[in-house]
Structure formats: structure tokens, C-alpha cells
Chain length 179, copies 2
DNA sequence: CTAGCATTTGAACGATCGTTCATTTAATGT
DNA sequence: ACATTAAATGAACGATCGTTCAAATGCTAG
């Protein structure tokens, strides 16, 4: 995972991976059928972890849509930030998946986007959110949140908690809740 | 450019590039010193085009910060959307640049981000934007706008003009102008 | 038509790729 | 201590990589 994130799937050789785990290249094939599976399993597990983590979070079903959106934003940040390598790989290496593997990941990604989409649609329907297009807002918000991974550093100017509040404010504003 | 965008720099061979332009691999070296230069020149030209295009846009200096932000958003969308391949490469292939080439691109990228940053800071200072942190808002807005490239298709549900208005609305809201 | 220059070829270089497999080494059960 | 199973090696496979370069080809000026 570290090697793929650092140099990219295509640029990392099985021999480099073997060296990193202290083994000869041939031995890797006792654990994986091929290089492609290493990439797919990494991405597939990441998406499964993501969806599972969402489903098993402390859930308050009677929440207002604003609280639901707030919950989603905080969840997204807290899940993605500590997983910089997985997230990076999952976004950058999609084209190195075989078509079948690509489809699996895309479907999981769609399921995750639908979580936010449903919240935004509900908020638009009951008038809480002043949104022109919930589908586009979904893309925009997720891109905005995930983009954090490209610049956030633990030793940076702002703490995780502060960044979380700032992004929450940006998202709630974009959704049209600030009146 | 098309090959790099499609398969990634590392996965494209000089022989594939040669075949695409109808020539043998050796002949490419009459036009480029090496493969790396192909990638760098592509990205460097893209960044130069971007900054030049911004500087030479029809400029109304007395604009309000809201108009400036609106101008930036429209500019970003109109510049990036028709250049899907260049943008994709410029974001995905950064790690395949040599350190010196990487620095050149990063500096140009910083210059572009500073355009938006300056607008947001000005708007925060004069009270037009209700922003907690202009620097983070800069990252968030650019990520949000650039993310459009991953899903927008010409034959899609919405026209470029409509998408532009929707994103403009999202950005202005996020900046805190909608009261 | 030819001389001279520019362009392209195609073979070759050494290196590295993902993957396989006979063989060796390590661990386990009796 | 030995038989058996598991794990790992390291050499080898054919393929492909970026790059070089002598030789062949195409083009232009005289």
C-alpha cells in the first residue's frame, strides 16, 4: 500500500514489494495470485471498510437533515484523513484495474455517494437546503472533502478538530442552510 | 497526451506513443530528449496556458469581490472542462515528475491558487465573505471545481451553462455571500 | 541527375518486468 | 530422531522497457 501510494501501481515491481516485506519475489505468489489482485484487494477492502464504518456508526435516526449532513461530513473527514494512502490509491489507480474489478469498485463508490445524495435530496424536499441540484452538490461536496487529503498534515497549522469545523461550515453554507 | 491520460505515464511505452503518431520509437528522440520531458512539457504548458489565460482575460478591475469570485469560478470551469486530458494528467502524474520538474509545476500551481486566495482574503477583510479560513476555502473551492472534470460529460443531463450556474451558486454560498 | 542534408528506420543494448517452478530450507507431528 | 508438510528461495522464462546508433531513405538545392 505504501509503495503503491508513493510511486503508483504501474511503477512498483513485485520485486520491490518483496524486498519491502523481506522476502523473494517468488514467495509473494504464495499469498496472491497476481499483482492485480494486490491492487484490487486493497481498494475493495477500503470501500468495504468505508461502507461498514458508516453503517455501524452510532446512529440517531430521528436526526434532522442538518444533523445528518453534519454527521456525514464529520464521518467522511474522520474516516478519510487517517487513511491517506488508501484514499490516494483508490482515487488514482482506478484505471489500473481490470474492467471487472473496476466495476466492483465503482458500484461501492456509487453506494457511498448515494448516502450523501439521499441526505441532500431529503433536505431539499423539506426545504431545509436551498439546493439547485442535489446530485451535483453531492459530487461537489465529496470532491471538496476528499481534497483535504491532498494538503492536510498532522503537524500543520490547524488541528483536525478545527479543520473539521471549518469544512463543516463550508458544507452547510454550500447546502444553503445559513440564512 | 491522450495515451498518458488513458493509461497513465508509467504504463505507456515510447513504442505505443510512436505507433500513435505513425513512426518508429527511435524517431521520437529527434523531438524529445526522453520520456520524462514529454510528461513535463505537457504539464508545464498546461500551467502556463492556465496562468496566461487568466491574466489575459477581459479584466474589469473595479469589480466587487463577489464579481471577482464569480469571474474566477466561471473562468476555472470554462478553462478546465474542455481540457479533460491535460487536467487529469496534471493531477495524477505529479509523482512521476523528477523532483526539479515537480517543483516547477508546484510553483505554478501555487500561483494559481493564490489568485483565488487573494480574492477570498479581500472579501473576508471587507466583510463580504463570511469565511473562517480563506486558505482552506481556497483548497476546498478548487477541489470542488476541479472535481467536475471527473463526472461532466457533454452529452450529460445538464448543459455546461447550467452546471456553471449551479457551481457558482455552491461557491458563493460556501463563501458566505448568501444571507 | 546528383550532392548534401534531414529524417527515419530497425536492430541492438542492458535492464527490468510479472510469473513459474524445481529445489532447498524451516516447521511440525510422532 | 525422523517423516511429512509448509514456506521460501533463486534461477529461469519470454516479454517489454527506454534509449542509442549505424544504415537506409526522403527531400532539396544546384
Amino acid at each position: 500500500m505504501r509503495l503503491f501510494a508513493q510511486s503508483g501501481y504501474a511503477a512498483v515491481s513485485m520485486r520491490q514489494i518483496a524486498r519491502e516485506v523481506g522476502v523473494q519475489a517468488g514467495a509473494l505468489y504464495l499469498y496472491t495470485p497476481d499483482k492485480q489482485s494486490l491492487l484490487f484487494d486493497l481498494m475493495d477492502q477500503h470501500m468495504k471498510d468505508l461502507l461498514t464504518a458508516w453503517q455501524s456508526r452510532e446512529q440517531a435516526n430521528a436526526d434532522s437533515v442538518i444533523e445528518q449532513l453534519e454527521c456525514f461530513v464529520r464521518f467522511h473527514i474522520r474516516f478519510h484523513l487517517p487513511r491517506a494512502d488508501e484514499v490516494f490509491i483508490s482515487y488514482m489507480e482506478l484505471r489500473n484495474l481490470t474492467p471487472e474489478n473496476f466495476d466492483v469498485i465503482q458500484i461501492a463508490r456509487g453506494a457511498y455517494e448515494e448516502i450523501l445524495h439521499d441526505i441532500l435530496k431529503a433536505g431539499q424536499t423539506d426545504g431545509t437546503f436551498k439546493l439547485v441540484d442535489p446530485k451535483i452538490a453531492t459530487f461537489a461536496i465529496i470532491a471538496m472533502l476528499t481534497g483535504m487529503n491532498t494538503w492536510y498534515r498532522d503537524e500543520g497549522r490547524l488541528s483536525l478538530e478545527m479543520v473539521e469545523e471549518i469544512y463543516l461550515d463550508l458544507v452547510l453554507s454550500a447546502a444553503g442552510t445559513k440564512d
